[in-house]
């Protein structure tokens, strides 16, 4: 229950944010999220930004995943 996709914020205009996924652009509602700035990534679900993507945590998750493979030859 969950089809949400990470989208990059291009601009913010009040309770709306212009976001892009690849070159697809959409005006997402910010009625459920505040403190959003251009350059942020949000999760887009059914037309709403429902949460921000934390780049630090994202990198950390990847680091952990990468590490798992480090001592195995693949």
């Amino acid at each position: 229950m969950c089809l949400a996709i990470p989208a990059k914020v291009i601009s913010v205009d009040g309770v709306c944010a212009r976001v892009s996924i690849e070159d697809v652009e959409y005006t997402a509602s910010l009625l459920l999220l505040d403190d959003v700035k251009p350059g942020d990534f949000i999760m887009l679900h059914a037309g709403f930004a429902i949460e921000k993507v934390d780049p630090v945590e994202a990198a950390e998750t990847l680091r952990l995943l990468n590490e798992m493979g480090n001592y195995r030859p693949y």
């Binding site: 229950m1 969950c2 996924i21 690849e22 697809v24 652009e25 959409y26 887009l44």
Partner: protein, 339 residues
Amino acid sequence: MIQKDKNIMLGHGSGGRMMHELIETLFIKHFGNSILNDQTDAAILPVPSDEIAFTTDSFVIDPLFFPGGNIGKLAVCGTVNDLAVSGAEPLYLSVSFIIEEGFPINELEIIVSSLAQEAQKAGVLIVTGDTKVVNRGKCDKLFINTSGIGRIRKENIHISKALNIESGDVIIINGTIGDHGMAVMNARESFNFRTSVESDCTSLNRLISAVLNKSHVKFMRDPTRGGVATVLNELAGKTGMGIEIEESSLPLRNSVKAMCEILGFDPLHIANEGKVLIVAGEQRASEIMEVLLNHESGKESSVIGRIVNDHAGRVVLRNQTGGSRIIDSLSGDQLPRIC
């Protein structure tokens, strides 16, 4: 004179003066050739010495105008491609219009002009046609039917029949998938996504004849409604062979991929109007690819899979993460989902 009328009226279809003016100032003006200009009840055509290929298609697309084309352009591409993927050289088209009363004439002219341009590009003549006008509400703005005649050489007749398909044969496509369906859906719905996706609709006869002149193919079909998945399932069903597709080999525009992820669509099920699936012997792959990649309609061609002996009658996709899944035909329309 026609310039007074802004919209199509019932009189334009009734066979009288209004209809003749419409034909002269719109259809003949754009389609004109020696056969059509005669305006006989039937076009008289020379019979080629080979076999004749004959196809028909009706176009009821909504919206009429979409990024990359309109119903007129599509009406030529659809029928020309049906002939071309069967191995025939398209020669003549008929074009019939069913127009809803009140349809704006300037829009009709844009559509007719596109149709004419595409026909010229494909090298086919529009030799006969028909015009009907129905009461408001009795058809959705405009429907077009095109029928096409082509000539087909004996050595190409097998192409549409899926005979002699063997394990190891390769499956090739001439470019990115899902563009047309996505462009149309985006134009039609109120979802408000802005994207550069355009319909890929184009006539493929020149591309295909270049391939047939240089090499040999075992089977061709165009993956229109239902997408690549549906054609491959038909092929697997008909031959009793299995088909394996590599997900990483499927040409896919980033924007189409993104739209599919957002809405929950599978690009393998989305319609294409400028694509041909080619099955050929493994040893033919590189020469066919060379022809395709050097043609404007084949720059993103790719070998996407092969015929196999396993999982008879089923199409299996090997995805980039190493897993596999079965690809079924499309059942019903694809629908955007939130779940």
